[in-house]
């Protein structure tokens, strides 16, 4: 490793007080740049960008992906990965509308039930990975297959619906700020707090960074990973609830069609989270999600063909990660 003896770096208020915040600052700069460029382009194109409606619209676009991306960030920091979120979103959407059946009195029940299911799925993922030592990729791929199977066996279409009151989550706004956006910000804030200010958060970074060191320091590594998966699944449930509140009724394909599994991973890594674990922050992920949303908006404004969008998205993801890899090499931390 490179010895860096610049005393400035060592002062309490120096740079890099925490790897997480350190790595997400540049992402926000990028977001700023993208935002500015988007604004310029759209205005030049005669469109309106800086209107409340438009900003609301962009914000809401980010919610579904944003929520689950936060969870994905958590597992990635722990050195794991969750491909099962997409189907969990479906399970939630269908489950919620099935339980609620449009009855306002059953709203709470619906939320509780789906959260419970989510926690269970997360627990299974975590236990298969830590207990059976199955690679997270395979484990969550397997569980998502199982979920899709069970789901399609039980429900084949839009089932039941959520009451109008519940749709407030998807459509209402407090003043200029949509409820859903408040939810997203709340979840981000919570996750930030958990990662930055709780023992679990500290241990998660440790496990992701070097599981053996964490173990030798007395951290219960398996427990930490399992909990991370539970949290991730819960955020997927929130995404599902948000979607069903938008759609009024859930269908088995809303999750996979949304591509939330790979997209959430992409958002997280664009936000500066390392796939290898031990490095990342939800703030960065949020920026990553917003970047994708703004770009999406510009694409819409210029009616960019969907396939070109996909192509560009691919380039952006790889490019972003390549840049981080470059920065890390220069940083020289081992």
């Amino acid at each position: 490793m490179i010895a860096d003896t610049m005393p400035g770096r060592l002062r309490p208020l120096g740079l890099g007080r925490d790897s997480g915040t350190a790595s997400s600052a540049p992402v926000w700069l990028v977001f700023g740049g993208v935002f500015a460029v988007a604004w310029l382009l759209v205005e030049l194109n005669g469109g309106q960008f800086m209107t409340v409606d438009n900003l609301q619209n962009m914000a809401v676009r980010s919610v579904a992906l944003g929520l689950v991306a936060v969870g994905q960030t958590i597992v990635l920091i722990g050195g794991s990965l969750d491909l099962s979120v997409a189907y969990l979103v479906s399970v939630t959407a269908v489950g919620a509308s099935f339980v609620m059946q449009g009855d306002p009195d059953r709203m709470v029940l619906g939320v509780v039930v789906t959260l419970a299911i989510g926690a269970l799925i997360g627990l299974v993922n975590g236990l298969v990975i830590t207990g059976l030592r199955v690679n997270a990729f395979i484990a969550t791929l397997g569980t998502s297959l199982v979920m899709s199977g069970v789901l399609n066996a039980l429900f084949t279409n839009f089932t039941g619906s959520v009451p109008r009151q519940f749709q407030a989550l998807g459509y209402n706004a407090l003043g200029p700020v949509p409820v859903a956006v408040i939810l997203l910000l709340a979840v981000v804030a919570l996750a930030w707090y958990v990662l930055r200010h709780t023992r679990f958060g500290y241990h998660l970074y440790a496990v992701g960074g070097n599981a053996e060191v964490a173990r030798l320091s007395g951290v219960r590594t398996d427990r930490t990973v399992v909990l991370a998966h539970v949290l991730c699944s819960l955020t997927a449930v929130l995404t599902g609830l948000f979607l069903v509140s938008r759609l009024r009724s859930g269908a088995p394909w809303v999750g996979p069609d949304g591509g939330y599994d790979l997209e959430s991973i992409a958002a997280a890594v664009v936000g500066g989270t390392a796939l290898a674990g031990g490095r990342g922050a939800v703030a960065g992920t949020l920026a990553g999600v917003l970047i994708l949303a703004v770009i999406d908006q510009v694409f819409n404004e210029f009616e960019v063909n969907a396939f070109l969008k996909t192509l560009i998205r691919g380039v952006i993801i790889v490019g972003a990660v390549a840049l981080y890899a470059l920065r890390r090499r220069d940083e020289g931390s081992f």
Binding site: G47, N157, R246, L247, W253, N300, E303, A306
Partner: protein, 396 residues
């Protein structure tokens, strides 16, 4: 570590066995039961009234010019649109569910061509939801936010999910035109669609029951469950099959994957030796199904497809016993026309039911378009449009 490990594995193994075991009794139900029993439960989507209406509509003569089916309508109830009258050039906004399959590609190409035909259209602003309900909802919000639309055309990704968004658009005072799939609200000015799924499914099923010998074995191939337009097709076919004395030996889901289609047909041929008829809820994989028989060295039995060129060619070349009910792509022209009518204050049908032709042995040659790609849908009504056939991927 080791002992609990084995234990866990054992449990997991048991789980697999149970999963496999508890279902191994299934065939007793699925296998060679009495005629028609193979069709299973009627779909939760089935509505008798709609079914009867569509069956009737098949034989109702549409109003309008016979040579321009996209202008025709079956017993239209006209509504007044004076309040939407608007002078000058218009920006037509279009929220598209997706262009993720050949049918939608042909349709979208046709719609763009249609828009070009009308000088009073300043711009056709289209947003592609890439098959995501939530994105389409946001897209519609976005279009409203941009405040540049004179009229809004919506091709919903799914019926139930898009209803709230469409309602919101209506409240914004825009004339809203919905086509292809519907929405659960009366608020759009007009809802444009061909007769529908029941007619499609029934036509194919009637043909098969006519062609197949008594107690003949019929295999029904569906793409996936739960999609309303597909569910109606199957539920109609089920009604027909249950009445007729044919044996539906299997109803399988293929995900629209040609490889799976071939695999499944192959498996059924091995299980039953022969199959006398194949019912498809969509034509995209009909060719694969037919080929599966050829590859197995068997005669292609009575089969239905759709108006895609590859199927029509195979039909022509191999002299198949076939029929092709359609879900015409020319319905993509109508919304533009409707939008302009509305903005001109002309009356339009509240529900604009387009005719839904069926391709049979007799009129097959009319729909064969050799210069067009195999996945082109014949009923695009675009032959006379500028840029044909290049824009549709064809060549002189």
């Amino acid at each position: 570590m080791r002992r609990p490990m084995r234990y866990r594995l054992a449990v997991l193994g048991a789980a697999v066995l149970v999963a496999a075991g508890c279902t191994s009794t299934a065939p007793e139900e699925g296998d060679d039961g009495p005629a028609g029993s193979g069709t299973g439960q009627q779909s939760s989507f089935f509505v008798q009234a709609d079914y009867d209406r569509q069956i009737a509509q098949r034989d109702t003569a549409p109003t309008g010019p016979a040579d321009q089916p996209w202008l025709q309508a079956i017993n239209p109830q006209l509504v007044d649109t004076a309040k939407y009258k608007k002078a000058g050039k218009h920006t037509i906004c279009f929220s598209n569910a997706a262009v993720n399959n050949p049918w939608r590609v042909v349709g979208w190409t046709t719609m763009q061509a249609e828009a070009k035909l009308h000088p009073e259209i300043a711009a056709l602003t289209a947003v592609d939801a890439e098959g995501k309900d939530d994105k389409q909802i946001s897209d519609i919000d976005g279009l409203l936010a941009s405040k540049k639309c004179s009229a809004l055309i919506v091709s919903p990704n799914t019926t139930a999910a898009l209803t709230p968004a469409v309602e919101k658009a209506c409240q914004a005072g825009l004339p809203v035109i919905v086509f292809d799939r519907g929405v659960n609200t009366e608020c759009p000015v007009t809802f444009i669609h061909p007769i529908g799924g029941y007619a499609f499914g029934a036509t194919a099923a009637e043909f098969l029951t006519g062609e197949v010998k008594k107690d003949g074995k019929i295999l029904a191939l569906r793409i996936l469950p739960g999609v309303d337009v597909l569910e109606t097709r199957w539920s109609a076919a089920k009604v027909i099959f249950d009445k007729a004395d044919v044996d539906v030996v299997g109803v399988e889901f293929t995900d629209g994957d040609a490889a799976k289609v071939k695999t499944i047909v192959n498996d059924y041929l091995e299980r039953y030796g022969s199959i006398d008829g194949v019912w498809m809820d969509a034509g995209a994989t009909s060719v694969a199904a037919a080929e599966a028989f050829e590859d197995a060295g068997q005669q292609v039995p009575a089969i239905n497809g759709e108006d895609q060129q590859d199927f029509l060619r195979l039909w022509q070349d191999k002299k198949l016993t076939a029929i092709a009910p359609t879900y015409p792509t020319y319905q993509w022209r109508t919304p533009i026309i409707a939008a302009l009518d509305i903005l001109a204050g002309k009356q339009v049908p509240k529900e604009w039911v387009l005719p839904q032709p069926t391709i049979t042995q007799d009129n097959l040659s009319r729909y064969l378009l050799p210069q067009l790609p195999p996945l082109h849908y014949a009923l695009c009504g675009c032959e006379q449009m500028p840029g044909f056939p290049q824009n549709w991927g064809g060549n002189q």
